[in-house]
Symmetry: D3
Subunit: 322 residues, 6 copies
């Protein structure tokens, strides 16, 4: 039987626009809160965009995602998972970022996630730009490299920008491979598209064994076939899911800094997550929602819905283990 | 030969942005107008959203839909129906709502539609929130229950909200079945999706024999197959069409209060109406356009186009009968 | 020495866009929280707009005001009051409204405020539409009528709307006088303007002894002179402050439902509050911020700043009493 | 006693967002309507911007002004004039423009206004760009030149643009003087500002005896002093009022094509009209509202309010004559 | 080896938001510039919308497209063409339009393009409304009629508007056929949809042998099949490509004046261009991007991406010839 | 006689929306351009916001300011200065920033300005956030400290943020005093307001002799009196002007990251610059325009107009010296 403390308030009782907005109207349980040890899945905001090389804004992402996530309810309409009853979920608050120092900010993020993991909590992150994934992986993969299924229009495997800057939102997974956080043979990147400067990132992927599925292949093969391959690649090992909102076509997700034309629609955006069933997810993130480019909040609402789908996958898996 | 009085002004003569905006640039024929008796299809606005439990705004819908409907012309590009020549159409104006009293407002709507029906006019409504359909059905189905094809992301079959409130935009069709306005065996709901609190609405549908086609089934089977089933369900009897703009994916229709991710695209949104050919439509509505959430008017334009497609179905049927 | 629990986080340490947004980054202390008894000033949201007769939206006000209030800091730049050190302040959360039943909603509000007042807390409200003030006054003036300084472009003294609806955002103070909650001889309304249907509200004001200062007089006499008169009118008795954001010109506060052209500018909007120094304020509200009409949040930021000024007045007075 | 036909519906009975939007909710009386002869003041839309040399949009002005004008009520709050009771007012609809031919469009406008004037109606125009005033003046001043009080940030006295184009929104009053429609000695231009290419327009003004009051002088002397001079200049003769919305500062009126920084505020914008009391106004216009640059409608609402003030001046004068 | 002068700056070195925005960050080479003779493909802006019969705005198109085109990089992600290395490209600036005289404006455009063609440059145009194509074709097809593949929701084959106006954005290709600029047997129009006034344009198409592929056929057959037919129609002869942004569904391209519901998605929007491989393209345009209807720039970004795809086709063909 | 090369194109010949947008339609003269040595005043963009501690965006400022600056013409309407004829002006382009490294970015800026100053050019900067002023001053005051008149709502004299970060947009002038770039006795800060954390910045100002004029004093004394004092403070020595757009009230300038309620209006915003006549200006900047918070561009247009006024002051002074 569910502990009412961990159940979101129903909009049949209190309208969705009411109340201080936490993720999905969950209780806020800070890292120093006595109930932290009970939490199984922790929703965490990383309001940070120091890795952004073009149009900033993802630092405002967690707040708008929290706001729009009030629209979500108790049960997944497609899979019928009821995540908040299956596992204990909470909003763990935001990592306090340092917008003026990238290294300090990354250290703060890794420390926060290390504490979360030590408490036995699966972290589910709302970014923040994509550099966020690197300090998170430093905590998640602290003991051993993990696999990754990565939805994006960019590989984020570049070496450096602006004359040697090695930490931007275009480089996190290059660094993660170099640091031994990712097992490149168990990494699959899906939806890659858009114009490029060169093939440096693809060359790196090939040399390391990372599987890159470009959007043309995605559209030609369809969601089910592509996701079956992705599940094969990561296998039964521990796997991180990284979901850049710019994976989705910009008509559906205009609120992001580096959109690329011709992506999946919103239905496919949810389908790919539902096809993660069975993957051993040890952490996940949804990044690059940039409110200044979509003040109406549609992108944040789509992002919140993707997070809900990710949560259902994690909850389903955790409750199956129990 | 058509009576010029009932023909919209052509934009080849007067630009679309000119003139006081009525629906599709039709003449305004009020209920006390001498020419009311000539009208065959009446476009009616219901500027009302007292049934809204979340984000208000549909009270502003009719005005923005009228504005954007100036973009429409004389002939359906796909079906080649010319509705304004086939039947006499008019803008009957708005029902004067009472925003401060739900029961009084519903009474006003039912009285208005009763007069319209007594004049032998098929009503085509621009809402308003979805509670609008209930007082309209009280007039349309005053003598006998009707069937219904219902496009929506929600069933609107809930029992009550907020500790017993029985009249909201989530309950109209529960009430309509209870009041004997709908024949549940001849009701088909298409496009249902999104997270839910529970299965109460689906349980009610099952127990009453209402057919619910969730979005997963819609996407898997395709428009033609689904609509063939819908036509079978309603058969040759009198049928009401209720079209909630949130049936369509929010990238296409952001201007609505309770969007759900992963719906049909705009082409499918029109196709489903075209597939109503042959259904005996005794009334139709397009509801939940909420201008405050799409000030640019794209949602209202899409809504106006859906209304035009509905009008073509009705006009085609009426002229075939004549 | 201040209790750190009650001090907002500084943006010199954690950026303003980070963290779950409470009013002014204060701690959230619910009505059942053990620390409620320590709170001296409580910031309360009333997400409700059922009294709105025209363009809805204030139900979304508290959330946007909370968001924008992150911009505020510890010390008033003009008066040098440091409210959070002077008195213990907290965000008491939102009253859970019932958007479908006006009477039930008003009862809920009055009950919430009664509990707040019983705890010895001065309530500072973020609305909600102006009908909010009525159920709040039912709690605040439960024992004896209070005086009121009311900033607005409308008197809100009308008898009824829509054929007898007596509870709308145009009637709260008529009801409050009738119910003995306000002492009309100690009521001053400032900034009244805009077109009107008739003089019914002014006639009522005159007959009851309410002082109405129209905008023409405000602009001609200036802030200091007008406010000296207002202070004289309310004298040393208990006084409620009600501040409708549409008091301010719509260029400064576009996000509201019934704007009137030609109001005060933003500097005057703050000055009038600073001139309340010495008034015995037993409660205050800032109402009618409507986010759908200003998604950029400038109106909410202005509203949050007015609330901060009101808080400084209250804190200054309470600490002077101590 | 007023004829109810000519009275706008009250929002105390029917909310402002309801109904097909005519100017100020007045009856629509077309030029062929039997009741035209009863009308005393006619509100006319000119949806046209072919004179625009920079950012187009005023062709959409009349529709948005009609929409926002629903906010206005029966009585002027400052002057207590009740225009709809004082004189019979109607919405005469829009002149059908020709967006592809400037000369044809001007001819259409002049013909429309000639019919209006022949019916004994004082025309009150919602533009349209400022070239609109020229074909209107050709009708209004067909028999003898009139005086003019002109509120604007530009003189619109230029000779030509783009290698000899003599009909743009920068030239109407040069043409009007040349055509003998304006008596330059009885013309006063108020609020002129912004950068210029040269002094050609000012030289023309000086040589013809047109009085130009730049914004610096306006701010230094104040509304009352400036307007006393303006009234002296036009004297007791027939006078046209032309009001460009860009007279007002762009913070108050962003929805216009050629804004200039540093104009009057919204209160002054209304005051200058109120100071026209006693001027013999034979026609007036409010031009250059451009909805694409202010989709929220604040500029149109300000424009509608200026039109209401102009209407009060005209109604007051006409009823005084009666 | 590429001349660095003709290579866009990389965003790996200078961020995309920096620098004066030319098309795709190319060098600006005016018609009088010494390096004009080296240019092989010239990107040209035509900031003009005098042919617009409804909602204006495309005059602002080139500037917003230039701004958003900074997002594009060196290599096509799908076809791997590197256009800036394959051929020498430059931004040739804007044609200086005359917004007050259609004939003069068309003459200016034709003269500009004649000079471009005399310099041996393939012109790639960013409009501007669709009338732009006519004066461009007068230069491109000065010697012999060309074929055309035309993506649009309208045929633009109408005879005239507004009582005889023969030059609007609804008539360019009627005129082009009449003037012998297009070989109608080698013209294919794809994506046609939306309501119509009559069949006049289709009748003209039929009588001249123009192939019109309506959207229903497009959706039923798919991109590859339709484009194979289009390539067959134009064959190996010289062919012009005209791409109206309203070909694409308005959810993807809201920033346009005459949107029609139910068009292709953004992926198909790019696919159709990629399928032009092998067509002998002698000029191309992308028209009807209207920034006032999409200030966020998503439409312009989509338009810029279409232009990039067109450029890749042209560059690939030119370099294959070399 | 003026060199036509250095004169902006007139909008009487080419409309303002046409052409690649440089500052005020001036020629682009890069640092390596042969004509650099002729330039007397250089307009420079610094697209950079790494110093921002709250809401980012000023990196997009220069591009939007260039776009809106097309609205400006040849002559100052108030002072009649014709800057482009008085001195040779050019757009020197943008400093290429490094968004990922604050120190490297500041070095790039200082190097750029050093070259500009060595060429004898007075730099006039469009930022960028306020940290921009520090590296600019390192070039401008390389030889001797300068005085400064600083318009802002914040002193920007703080020591550090976020646990020791010494280079943010809240610290530039603290650093500049410490580095001997500013003579604090010749520094005057005008318009300071808003809530604060503490008095640390004011204490520093007092201890160094910097004159701070808070907004209350500004409003009480008026522009002329305040500016007379400011001129006295800087005297006849070399003086830098730094103008933060948030000096102006947010209703006039919403597009900025840290707005403060209650500032000057737009007319005062220009007046304060005009009152700089006679000051020996050796450089000036206008910073903190943040396009994501005002996509309509009103703030950028106001900023461009302030830059034009600054240019007129500099041009007037330089031509008087000649």
């Amino acid at each position: 039987m569910s502990d009412p403390f961990f159940l979101p308030v129903s909009a049949m009782e209190m309208p969705r626009y009411a109340g201080i907005p936490t993720f999905m109207r969950l209780p806020h349980v800070g890292l120093d809160d006595a109930r932290l040890s009970e939490v199984q899945v922790g929703l965490i905001g990383v309001p940070w965009d120091s890795g952004t090389t073009n149009r900033p804004g993802p630092r405002h992402g967690p707040r708008q995602i929290r706001d729009m996530s009030s629209m979500l309810r108790a049960e997944n309409g497609a899979t019928h998972v009821r995540p908040f009853e299956a596992v204990k979920c909470a909003d763990l608050g935001d990592v306090s970022p340092n917008p003026a120092d990238i290294q300090d900010a990354m250290d703060r993020i890794t420390r926060f996630y290390t504490r979360v993991l030590e408490a036995g909590i699966v972290p589910l992150t709302a970014g923040g730009d994509h550099l966020t994934s690197l300090p998170v992986l430093r905590a998640v993969a602290a003991k051993a490299p993990v696999g990754m299924i990565h939805f994006d229009s960019h590989t984020d495997l570049f070496h450096s920008y602006f004359n040697g800057m090695m930490y931007t939102h275009g480089t996190p997974f290059r660094r993660a491979v170099e640091e031994g956080l990712l097992d490149p043979k168990r990494v699959c990147q899906i939806g890659i598209r858009g114009s490029t400067y060169d093939q440096e990132d693809r060359d790196f992927a090939r040399s390391e064994g990372i599987r890159v599925i470009p959007i043309e292949e995605f559209h030609a093969r369809g969601v089910e076939d592509v996701m079956a391959e992705a599940r094969d690649i990561v296998g039964q090992g521990e796997t991180y899911i990284s979901y850049d909102i710019d994976f989705i076509d910009p008509a559906f997700a205009p609120g992001t800094g580096t959109p690329e034309i011709g992506g999946p629609n919103s239905y496919q955006a949810l389908q790919v997550v539902r096809e993660l069933k069975g993957v051993k997810v040890v952490g996940a993130d949804l990044v690059e929602v940039s409110p200044p480019f979509d003040s109406a909040g549609g992108t944040a609402y789509l992002g919140a819905t993707v997070i809900f789908e990710l949560l259902c996958i994690i909850a389903d898996q955790l409750s199956a283990q129990a």
